[in-house]
C-alpha cells in the first residue's frame, strides 16, 4: 500500500463543488486533493484559534488591545505581518514585473527609516499617553474634533483596504482555481469575520504570526527554484536585458535623476521625500493598523523593540515578492514555449471577456501585433492566454510547485490576504468603538457592551468592505489604488501628528483645521488628475511622470500643505499651557527611564545594525 494515500491525494481536484462556483476563466492548475487538505487545515486552524481565544477576549482591554501582553517578537512579527496582505504579495510582485527593482523602494526607503523612527522616537509618546488608538492621541493633543475627523477618515480607509485584500484574494482563487470572484470574497469574508469577532485583536495577532511563518514556508521556494532555472543572478540579468532591452530593471537609484529614464516614471526627490517621508512615515508611524500591534506590547522596551525586529524581516521580504516578479519577466512561458507577456489589470478586464475597449488598450501593451490580433480574433469565451501583472506570483507558483507544495503556496497567499483583512477590520473595530461610538453615541455603557459593539462592528465592517472589493476592480492595478489611499489620508495625518508631538506651539484649532484642509487638499489633487489625466504633469512636476510618481508627490504636497496650515493657524491662536502637554509633546514630557540591559538587548544597537544593512543594500543595488 506504499504511496496509496499520496497518490489519492495528488490525483486531481474535487469535482463536487457546488454548481454556483461558475468558472470565469480556465484555471491555471487543478488543485490536487493534497492541496485541498493543506488549505482546509489552515482554515480549520484559524477558526479553531478564534474559538480558543474567545474565552480570553471578554473585556474591552483584552478584545481591543490583546490585554497588552505581547512580547517584542510577537508584536514585531505581527507589526510587519499586518502589512503582508495583498499589498505585499501579489501587488508588489506585479508592480515589479511592470517597473523592475524600483518597486523595492517601497520595502526599504519606504519602510525602514520610518520603522526605526517609530520604535526609537515616537513609541514612548504613544505608550506613555496610554492611548488606545492614534485618533485617541489626537484627542489628547488637539481635542475631540480632530479625533472624530481622524477616526472617520481612518475607518473609511480601513474599509477600502479590506476591500483591496478581499479582491486580491479573489483574484488568486480565480487564477489558480477558476472560482468566481464573488464566491472567493464571500468565503474569505466569512472566515475572517468569525475568527476576529471571536478573539478580537489577540486572534488577529495570533493569525498574523502564523501567516508570517506560512508565507515564508510557502513562498520561499519560488525565488529559490526560479534563480536555479534562470542561471543565478548573472543569468537573470542577461535574460531581462535581452527581453526588455534595458538594464533599468536592476537599479534602485541610478536612473531616477530624470522621470523618463526609468520604467516607473519617478524622480528621486519623489522617492526620498514623497515615499521615504510623507507616505512611509505616515503609514508606519501614524496608521493605527500597524501602530495598534505595537501598542499591544507588554512594556515600553518591548514596544520600542517590536518595530526594530520587524524592520529586519521587512528588509528580507523582497526576496519572496520582488524577485519572483523579476523572474516572471524571463521564465513565464505560453503553452507553445514562447515568452508569456502579462498586461495591465484594466486591459485584462477589457479583454476577458471581450469588450469594445479591449483593442485600444491592447495597443498600449508590449504584446506583439500578431498576438494582439490573435486575442481580438477570439470573440467567443475567455481569453485564457491573457494574464494581468497581478497574476505573476501565482503563475510562478504553478510553474514550480507540485501537489502539496502548491497547496502550501496558495495557503500562504490566502493567509496573507485574510490576515490583511483581519488587521483592517480589527483596527476599524477599535477606532469605531473607542473613537466614534463611545464619545459620540454612548458614553456610559458597560465594558461588556463595548465588547459587543466591537464584535458587531467587525461583522458590519466586513459587509461594507465587500462592496469596496468590487470598487477595486475599476482601478488601474491594485497597487495604484492603494497608494492613492495612502496619500489621501495618511500624509495629512502625519504632518498633524508630527507637529503635535514635537512642537508645543501647535494649537487645538490648528490641528483640526490642518487635518481637515489637508485631506480636502489631497482629495482635490486626486480628483484633479482623475478628471483630467493631463494634470498629472503638474502634480508630479514632469510630462514624463507616471501614476506612481503622482502618488508620491501628492503625498508630499498634502503633507507640506497640512504643515503650513497648522503653522499659520497656530501663530494666530492661543497655545495650550505646557503643563497640559505632559506625556504628549517632546520637551514637555519626562520619558520613563528604562532599566539597563546587556548590549544585545539594547534597541539602539539593533537599530544601528538595521541602518548599516539598509545603507549597504541601497549601495549594492544602486
Amino acid at each position: 500500500m506504499f504511496g496509496s494515500v499520496p497518490a489519492y491525494l495528488a490525483a486531481g481536484s474535487f469535482g463536487s463543488l457546488p454548481s454556483f462556483l461558475a468558472f470565469s476563466a480556465a484555471p491555471l492548475a487543478r488543485l490536487a486533493r493534497l492541496d485541498i487538505v493543506v488549505i482546509a487545515l489552515y482554515f480549520g486552524m484559524v477558526i479553531w484559534i478564534g474559538f480558543y481565544l474567545k474565552g480570553r477576549s471578554n473585556t474591552s482591554e483584552e478584545f481591543f488591545m490583546a490585554g497588552r501582553q505581547m512580547t517584542a517578537w510577537i508584536a514585531g512579527l505581527s507589526f510587519v505581518s499586518a502589512n503582508l496582505g495583498s499589498l505585499e504579495l501579489m501587488g508588489w510582485a506585479g508592480t515589479t514585473y511592470e517597473y523592475g527593482i524600483l518597486a523595492t523602494h517601497w520595502y526599504w526607503i519606504g519602510a525602514i527609516p520610518a520603522m526605526l523612527f517609530l520604535g526609537l522616537v515616537m513609541m514612548p509618546f504613544y505608550y506613555v499617553s496610554k492611548t488606545h488608538s492614534v485618533p485617541g492621541y489626537l484627542n489628547l493633543r488637539y481635542g475631540e474634533h480632530a479625533r472624530v475627523l481622524a477616526a472617520i477618515s481612518f475607518a473609511l480607509e480601513m474599509i477600502l483596504m479590506s476591500g483591496v485584500n478581499m479582491f486580491a484574494m479573489a483574484v488568486v482563487m480565480k487564477v489558480v482555481l477558476g472560482w468566481s470572484l464573488t464566491f472567493s470574497i464571500l468565503v474569505s469574508a466569512a472566515a475572517v469575520t468569525l475568527y476576529v469577532a471571536l478573539g478580537g485583536l489577540r486572534s488577529a495577532i495570533f493569525n498574523e504570526v502564523l501567516q508570517f511563518v506560512l508565507i515564508w514556508g510557502g513562498a520561499l521556494l519560488v525565488p529559490v527554484l526560479g534563480m536555479i532555472q534562470a542561471g543565478g543572478v548573472g543569468g537573470l540579468k542577461t535574460q531581462i536585458i535581452a527581453n526588455m532591452h534595458s538594464d533599468s530593471y536592476f537599479h534602485l537609484w541610478r536612473d531616477t535623476a530624470h522621470f523618463a529614464d526609468n520604467p516607473m516614471g519617478v524622480h528621486w526627490t519623489g522617492i526620498v521625500f514623497g515615499l521615504g517621508f510623507a507616505i512611509s512615515f505616515g503609514y508606519w508611524c501614524t496608521d493605527f493598523l500597524v501602530v495598534q500591534r505595537v501598542l499591544a506590547a507588554h512594556d515600553l522596551r518591548a514596544a520600542r523593540m517590536a518595530p526594530i525586529i520587524g524592520s529586519f524581516f521587512k528588509m528580507a521580504v523582497p526576496f519572496i515578492v520582488i524577485l519572483p516578479g523579476l523572474l516572471g519577466l524571463v521564465l513565464l512561458q505560453n503553452p507553445d514555449g514562447s515568452r508569456m507577456q502579462l498586461i495591465p489589470q484594466d486591459t485584462w478586464k477589457a479583454c476577458v471577456p471581450m469588450s469594445a475597449s479591449c483593442a485600444p488598450l491592447l495597443k498600449q501593451t508590449s504584446l506583439s501585433p500578431a498576438v494582439q490580433q490573435d486575442v481580438l480574433d477570439q470573440k467567443e469565451g475567455p481569453q485564457t492566454d491573457l494574464h494581468s501583472y497581478n497574476e505573476v506570483l501565482p503563475l510562478m507558483m504553478v510553474r514550480y510547485l507540485g501537489p502539496g507544495l502548491l497547496g502550501l503556496g496558495i495557503t500562504a497567499l490566502i493567509a496573507g490576504f485574510m490576515s490583511g483583512m483581519a488587521g483592517n477590520v480589527s483596527a476599524f473595530s477599535t477606532v469605531w468603538t473607542y473613537d466614534l461610538y463611545k464619545p459620540l453615541i454612548n458614553k456610559k455603557a458597560t465594558d461588556s457592551h463595548y465588547v459587543m459593539v466591537g464584535r458587531l462592528s467587525i461583522v458590519i465592517g466586513v459587509l461594507v468592505s465587500i462592496g469596496a472589493g468590487y470598487l477595486v476592480q475599476r482601478a488601474h492595478g491594485i497597487m495604484d489604488y492603494v497608494q492613492a489611499l495612502f496619500s489621501i489620508f495618511i500624509a495629512p495625518l502625519l504632518a498633524t501628528i508630527l507637529l503635535g508631538m514635537f512642537w508645543k506651539r501647535a494649537t487645538r484649532l490648528a490641528g483640526f483645521l490642518g487635518l481637515l484642509l489637508g485631506i480636502a487638499f489631497s482629495v482635490s489633487l486626486f480628483m484633479w488628475v482623475h478628471v483630467n489625466p493631463e494634470n498629472l504633469k503638474y502634480v508630479a512636476l514632469s510630462d514624463a511622470a507616471k501614476t506612481m510618481a503622482e502618488n508620491v508627490f501628492r503625498a508630499l504636497w498634502a503633507c507640506l500643505f497640512t504643515a503650513i496650515v497648522i503653522f499659520v493657524v497656530s501663530m494666530f491662536t492661543k497655545p495650550r499651557p505646557v503643563a497640559e502637554l505632559e506625556g504628549l509633546v517632546y520637551g514637555a514630557t519626562k520619558l520613563p527611564t528604562e532599566d539597563p540591559v546587556p548590549f544585545y538587548k539594547n534597541e539602539w544597537i539593533w537599530a544601528g545594525l538595521v541602518a548599516v544593512i539598509f545603507t549597504a543594500l541601497n549601495i549594492i543595488f544602486w
Binding site: F2, G3, V5, P6, A7, L9, A10, A29, L34, V37, V38, L41, Y42, M45, I49, Y52, R56, G67, Q69, M70, T71, I74, F206, V209, L210, V213, L214, G217, L221, L225, I228, Q229, H298, V398, R399, Y400, L401, G402, P403, G404, L405, L408
Partner: protein, 73 residues
C-alpha cells in the same frame, strides 16, 4: 505569547509538522514511483522531499520547545 495559555509557537509547530510530513510523504512517493506532475518544472530536484523534511524538523522543534506546560521565556 506572553501570559498564560498555549503559546502561539506551539500552534505553528503543530501545523508545520502536519504540513511537512504530508509534503515529505508525497515527495517520497513521487520519487519512488517516478510519476511527476507534467507541468511542474525542476522535478529532478525533488523539492517536496527536502522542503517537507525542513518543515517537519522545524515543526518538531517548535512543538517540543513550546509544548503546553513548559516555562517559556
Amino acid at each position: 505569547m506572553h501570559g498564560s495559555g498555549i503559546p502561539i509557537w506551539f500552534f505553528i509547530g503543530v501545523l508545520l509538522v502536519i504540513y511537512g510530513s504530508m509534503i515529505l510523504g508525497y515527495g517520497v512517493y513521487e520519487w519512488h514511483t517516478g510519476i511527476y506532475p507534467p507541468l511542474v518544472q525542476l522535478t529532478n530536484l525533488h523539492t517536496p522531499v527536502w522542503w517537507g523534511g525542513v518543515l517537519t524538523a522545524l515543526g518538531v522543534f517548535y512543538v517540543v520547545k513550546f509544548r503546553p506546560g513548559q516555562a517559556v521565556k
